[in-house]
Subunit: 323 residues, 2 copies
């Protein structure tokens, strides 16, 4: 068993509490309360795995960890309200560095009007930052991965692979003549798509997943949870024009398997797609149709990629975090 | 600044969300919702700091971490409903060991009828277990540390120092002719006092704190938050008879500074104390009056200890986790 999937493997057969609407297996958990549902998720980042001092200074360690949690909240269509942090801190870590981590979080927390309501700090060998996020969502409006249906449009926000290229630049694996700062910014300060996702709250059915591991992986999660097949069109996958300067293999890898863009991939009934386009326009973000949903009865695949006239299963190679 | 207190130091001046009833600074955070309040807390345990393979096998690592969180819930008077776990797992950790951690949690989760609703697993150098607990409490019935008033009775559940003695036995620092298993059990499988604390829910005002760092520390936290002084009577502090066999200095250290008993220390108006005694009897736990609350105007101390005819400030030496 892959240890990364350990949590998914221990899904309970039934829930003891009637209030649990969704437990393990989506971007966040949902608990029913009067008037609205509670959304909550936890995300952990480890020094040397998810970031290192060379590529992500303390301020951005805080910023990115909270951004990753807010991205889970966006992927559930939730409105964030509060967060808690747990820090494992090595002895040689200074108080100034700790404060910078907090300031990175607080900068983002101010933007979304959310509060730090609790936490724990302990000593350890390696910096570990764990954030628990809380929010609310209107009853039956949580955007589950299982909501896709044949006939839906598949869409994605922003451009893909930008964060991965930013990391490559930080690691000196790549150089660019222009736009270096843009890509590094996309790696260090990703933007959770909360406002856009909230704009969709009037729509009855939307499936959403955030792009933390690359769309090959996220699209497969939607397909699996919804028992459908997603057909993606290679020509329609949005990438930044600067990415096109790279080797073709790298472009393919970055756009399908580049993690931590924290964009949203989703599906909606075709009649609602114009509304989704309008919502993106209102919040000044790029939105692209990248495919369609079909019945999975005969495909025997979660995701099929249409490229240069052929239709092949899209390998879910996922994203291995590199520091 | 003590890094352990980092979280406490970053308390926000005001809360952006009107729903935050209590943020950082108590056993858990409280958020207002229609009909009831939401209680939530996060607790992290690190291999080599809070436990080690020698003293706490994986099953009990899970059990204790969830127990510590449930103890925070008890100290707020809350009814637990769900939890999330985040694991940082070293590469040499086996899946069987991971499963044992989970089974330790699930054993306790079954007892309290709560659900695992989410989590995250990542690779790292050192085992880190973080649990986030959720629950509910009736409006304005959260048992804050700030609720003590002059004239209150100070009480504590169970006997103190048992977990510390259990640890000493595991580390071969002590030997006992009898009851070894009892003390080791109190260290590895502490009992959160949820049922007892819930039994008090009809009382209007109770201050509660759980004994994670020793009562010298917990009593001081209540005194500080409530702007009062707690006078404790050395003769009335409950200890197991076997503890009396140890050196006097050790007895003093264990009972005041021995951490992780996960008992509850609290204060109530004197008129309500008989009800508290009855509640303890109903749940078959020992309950002792250990002191009284007085005005702090002239004492210039948080906690005063009455011992052999003298009244001296009780030093808060706290508990340093030993593995």
């Amino acid at each position: 068993m892959d240890e990364f999937k350990f949590i998914d493997s221990i899904t309970q057969d039934y829930y003891r509490q009637g209030s649990v609407v969704k437990g393990i297996g989506d971007d966040a958990a949902i608990m029913r309360h009067p008037y609205h549902d509670i959304v909550t998720a936890v995300d952990t980042m480890v020094d040397g795995i998810h970031f290192s001092k060379d590529t992500v200074p303390p301020f951005y360690v805080g910023y990115r960890t909270l951004a990753a949690n807010l991205s889970d909240m966006a992927a559930m269509g939730g409105l964030p309200t509060a967060y808690m942090i747990s820090l494992v801190v090595p002895k040689d870590y200074s108080n100034d560095e700790l404060k910078e981590i907090y300031q990175g979080m607080d900068t983002l927390a101010r933007d979304y009007h959310i509060d730090l309501i609790g936490g724990d700090t302990v000593i350890g060998d390696q910096l570990v930052v764990t954030v628990t996020i809380f929010g609310t969502v209107e009853k039956n409006r949580a955007r589950l991965r299982s909501h896709a249906k044949p006939g839906d449009v598949v869409f994605v926000t922003g451009t893909l692979g930008d964060s991965r290229l930013g990391l490559a630049l930080l690691l000196n694996e790549e150089t660019l003549s222009e736009d270096q700062a843009y890509f590094i910014g996309r790696h260090q300060q990703p933007t959770p798509r909360i406002h856009f996702a909230r704009e969709l709250s009037s729509l009855k059915r939307v499936a959403l997943n955030d792009v933390s591991d690359g769309i090959s992986s996220e699209a497969a999660e939607i397909a699996k949870a919804s028992h459908v097949t997603l057909i993606l069109d290679d020509d329609m996958i949005p990438i930044h024009e600067r990415l096109e300067e790279l080797d073709e293999d790298k472009v393919t890898d970055y756009k399908y398997n580049g993690g931590e863009d924290f964009e949203l991939i989703g599906t909606v009934p075709i009649k609602d797609f114009p509304y989704v386009l309008e919502a993106a326009k209102k919040h000044q973000i790029k939105l692209s149709k990248i495919g369609t949903v079909i019945d999975d009865e005969k495909t025997n695949a979660h995701v099929l990629l249409s490229k240069q006239g052929t239709l092949k299963p899209l390998k879910k190679s996922g994203y291995t975090h590199k520091n």
